[in-house]
Symmetry: C2
Subunit: 329 residues, 2 copies
């Protein structure tokens, strides 16, 4: 039996909210009998859902933060939005973690401003788990902090290593620094300073990771400033998308190819699902007081379900507590 | 009839030199009757080749710069290396351009120190042409300058746009800034400053390009500091490699898939060659006085041949002269 926990969920986050969120929430509740959910959103959405589902409580809210709003301003002014209320429930102890597929910027702002940072953490960071064929790779930061100091990257590495161990299930994660050469003296001034600090302070530091090594899973954790990490993540997403599109074109380019494509269809969709971000269902924001998982705006019900499961793992794995211990050392 | 030109070629550059270089050089000479080559390398390699090929002159050299050496030191001390001599021939007007598949760092150092910068160019930059399915994309800088100022990026954009027009054949290239959001105010402090400068000074500036937009060819030219550009380029290379490997696995995972794979084999190898860097055969260093193309260390004879053809296009397209005019404005 798993530890009984409660998560708050933003019913309004995501392109196809609330439908997709409700479907994913129902599936998560069905799969995890020790999970309770406080669903935040418009009364007419959350109350009927809560009435129809065990272990679900409705928390009606009256405001909504849309994708285009300035994140910090929206969070400060819309105190009764589903996003802010969801985070406040964690702050006030009614829930231990939060899931939203809303605007990433607004989620980061709400979690940081409302839940607050773990003591000692300079900057909370956004991670993503890359579903590389050779094994999962935790990339951090993927966009929360465009401008960084080397000390931030040390904490990103510590936090992401804890996440890799407790949530992703990597026993002794090796951490690499995203850089443009394998030798110590390579890279920008900033990358060189980071290399020195990580070499000195991070026991599981395993050296520089070049761009073409991110998906080989030679490193279980790859750290970068949020600018470089985001470029890397989006470049991977773009390359996968362009390649699959081109592949589809190639497989329908002639009658013979079409026939062959039918035979390989199953294997290809298996590959596509291996590479799919859905498996992990969202990006954790590490370094805030509580679990916070930010889903992709285009999340499917499966992605929402898995994002909620991931939030549960962060809570049960005591990730925020372990991060507090690690940065206090 | 094309303009008659002379290029110097480093016979020693590349993992499989000199064999691969000689094969590529012979093919380039055969395909371009208006091309002459000065082949730099050990006497026993270059003299027999020159004797056996029209329009090829041997330039025996006695030193070699290996991959592991410190680039600038090696260039300063090994004055009779094939790399340094090849660049000196351009400096002294015996050749108009240079090709090497040797150490990228040493090539950059030799070209910059020996050929010299075009007047007004702050930092020569390394470009690469990404063979995206929707059309070629010129990415610049991909590693020559890890630390940059916004003014450098403006020049990278000017130089890469000239290259896109004169060599790649894009009529009115649109330039994007590699960034982590599409809006003006997105990104690091540095990226925001670059955005402002490009908006103001670059007539063909078309806004921010996110990582997932690099391969869509929505922008013909994408500029970045050399750190970010290199991470982006290598991430693409890594993603393509991992995906094709996984694809191979998927296509041999069952007897039915194997049968289907036979039928799609032709289409897939077509796709692979579309995505191959071989087509462009090397990365131009822009901003030096003369053409300089740096081939990949693992260049095939075809890549060497195409790299030499690219150097010829840079010379005939008067790229260095156009760059001088653009930066003088």
């Amino acid at each position: 039996m798993a530890e009984k926990i409660t998560l708050s969920v933003d019913a309004l986050g995501g392109d196809d909210a609330p439908g997709v969120v409700l479907e994913g929430t129902a599936a998560a509740l069905a799969e995890d009998p020790d999970l309770s959910i406080v669903l935040c959103g418009p009364r007419e959405v959350v109350e009927p859902f809560a009435a129809a589902h065990e272990r679900c409580v409705a928390r009606p809210t009256t405001e909504e933060i849309s994708m285009g709003e300035h994140p910090a301003n929206a969070v400060r002014t819309k105190k009764d939005s589903s996003l802010v209320v969801g985070c406040r429930l964690v702050k006030e102890g009614e829930a231990q973690g939060f899931f939203s597929a809303g605007s990433t910027g607004a989620c980061l702002a709400a979690a940081t401003l409302v839940m607050g940072r773990v003591k000692g953490v300079a900057r909370p960071a956004l991670c993503t788990v890359l579903p590389a064929p050779a094994g999962p790779v935790v990339l951090c930061d993927v966009g929360a902090n465009a401008d960084c100091k080397p000390e931030y990257l040390l904490q990103f590495a510590q936090m992401a290593s804890i996440y890799a161990r407790e949530v992703v299930g990597v026993d002794a994660p090796k951490a690499g620094l995203l850089n443009i050469g394998s030798e110590e003296a390579k890279g920008s001034q900033f990358a060189q300073e980071c290399h020195q600090l990580l070499s000195k302070e991070l026991p599981n530091f395993a050296g520089n990771c070049e761009g073409d090594d991110v998906l080989t899973a030679r490193f279980d954790v790859v750290v970068a400033d949020g600018f470089t990490g985001n470029v890397c993540l989006k470049t991977i997403e773009g390359a996968v998308s362009v390649l699959f599109k081109a592949l589809k074109g190639a497989l329908t380019s002639s009658p013979v190819a079409k026939l062959g494509a039918l035979a390989v269809k199953g294997s290809l969709s298996g590959l596509k699902s291996t590479l799919s971000a859905e498996t992990y269902g969202g990006a954790p924001l590490l370094g805030v007081k509580g679990a916070c998982i930010v889903g992709h705006g285009s999340s499917s019900p499966t992605a929402v379900k898995n994002g909620i499961h991931t939030a549960a793992k962060v809570v049960r794995g005591k990730v925020p507590e372990l991060i507090a211990q690690a940065v206090a050392r």
